[in-house]
Amino acid sequence: MNRMGWGSTAFAAMAFAASVALAASGADAIKERRALMKENGEATKAVVGMLKGAPFDLAAVQKALKTYENAAAKMPGLFPADSEKGDTHALPAVWTDTADFDARFKKFGADSAAALTAITDDASFKANMPGVLKNCGGCHEKFRAKDN
């Protein structure tokens, strides 16, 4: 077999391997970001319960804020180009308006960190938490479309 033949076979194999790897990374990113958002939701469920009148629990609030910070730091990196299609509720705006998308997570992370220091009791919780939670709806408005 001549060198050209081997070369193109090798190239095809590499291209195939690369496409498989890309497909895996897109699907993995979707899985990972959905897991992070699920954690956010569970954390929020407890926090909203307290805002509705359940007894204040500082440890649970701090855990929630750390969950938000962690998600906010990781989320912007979990939207590679090949993760627009698939089992995801992400809207195309994530990829067409990436600067805004990333900036919102940065603000969400910073707000969560600030609230973590500011919240020490029920009163400071009621004063500071709604501001952090406002970030959720703004992002879901522009970047998510659920099909429930």
């Binding site: 939701g41 929020t44 909203v48 805002l51 939670l133 709806g137 479309a145």
Partner: protein, 297 residues
């Protein structure tokens, strides 16, 4: 032969005339026009404004003030793109030169001051159920918003939806007369229905539509694909909200947070911002109505 041709011609002309007559815009009745023309209460109208969510479609793009109503935000639908108009009190570009009766004609009859059909992307089939008092109060409040100069781009619709007169056919099918209004929308029980079906216009997104864009009453409020393409509005009937308490519904409407810790998004995020401005009793009335609503009776 000549007689046959003449008969065909007469029939064709008569049909054309009939179609033209049947699709003619019907102006608001004079009695209602008079009733809405007495002065309203702007403070009460502010609440009507947020219940009706006028800002969701009519605010100027690229800014956050819900009361800058310059219009021009693109509304994508399967029929093409609508650009909601300027409804600020600007005399040249907005509705500052309108009368209260003009305003009521648009809101309740879907007819412009020039006597033309308005497209039902403007949810007048719902607004048509509004009380005369709410229309008066809303009109009074509209005068307090700042005038904004500039007009929205013209709508960009695909054929045959681009023929405005064809809205007359749509109205024959889905908007034959003024919608029935509740005699007294003030009682707690009736208030919820009034808010949901009237100013709140929940069904415009939550009720599925036929291919002609008419609501399917038998499936009212059971959820529907969103007009912009991706996503779906959820079932908000007693069945869809089975796991929610009335308090959960009222809380979600004003904060966005669901019992599972999710935050409402898409077009509902703007609705939540608006409903954060209305009295708790109204949210409770909406919640009560939805939690007991079954589309088939």
């Amino acid at each position: 032969m000549r007689i046959a041709l003449a008969v065909v011609a007469v029939i064709a002309a008569a049909s054309a005339a009939a179609i033209w007559l049947f699709t003619a815009p019907r102006p608001l009745d004079p009695e209602t026009a008079r009733a809405v023309s007495t002065p309203g209460d702007a403070k009460a109208g502010r609440i009507v404004f947020f219940l009706a969510g006028c800002d969701s479609c009519h605010t100027s793009p690229g800014q956050d003030d819900p009361l800058r109503l310059g219009g021009g935000q693109e509304l994508k639908t399967p029929f093409g793109s609508f650009y909601p108009p300027n409804i600020s009190p600007d005399r040249a570009d907005g509705i500052g030169a309108w009368s209260a009766a003009d305003f009521a004609g648009a809101l309740l009859a879907g007819v412009s001051p020039a006597g033309r059909h308005l497209y039902p992307a403007f949810p007048y089939p719902s607004y048509s159920r509004m009380s005369e008092k709410d229309v008066r109060d809303l009109w009074a409040f509209m005068q307090t918003t700042p005038p904004v100069a500039g007009r929205a781009p013209p709508d960009s619709l695909s054929f045959p939806f681009s023929i405005r007169r064809a809205v007359g056919f749509w109205k024959l099918l889905y908007f034959p007369e003024r919608m029935p209004r509740l005699a007294d929308p003030s009682g707690a029980e009736a208030r919820g229905r009034y808010l949901v079906e009237g100013p709140g216009h929940c069904g415009e997104c939550h009720t599925p539509r036929s291919f002609l864009g008419g609501p399917i009453a038998a499936r009212a409020l059971t959820g529907a694909p969103l007009p912009e393409g991706k996503g779906k509005s959820p079932d908000i009937t007693a069945k869809g909200l089975a796991d929610w308490s009335e308090d959960d519904v009222a809380y979600a409407l004003s904060t966005g947070f669901t019992p599972t810790g999710d935050s409402l998004g898409g077009p509902m995020a703007a609705v939540v911002r608006n409903l954060a401005q209305v009295p708790k009793e109204d949210l409770a009335a909406i919640a009560h109505f939805l939690k007991t609503f079954k589309p088939d009776g």
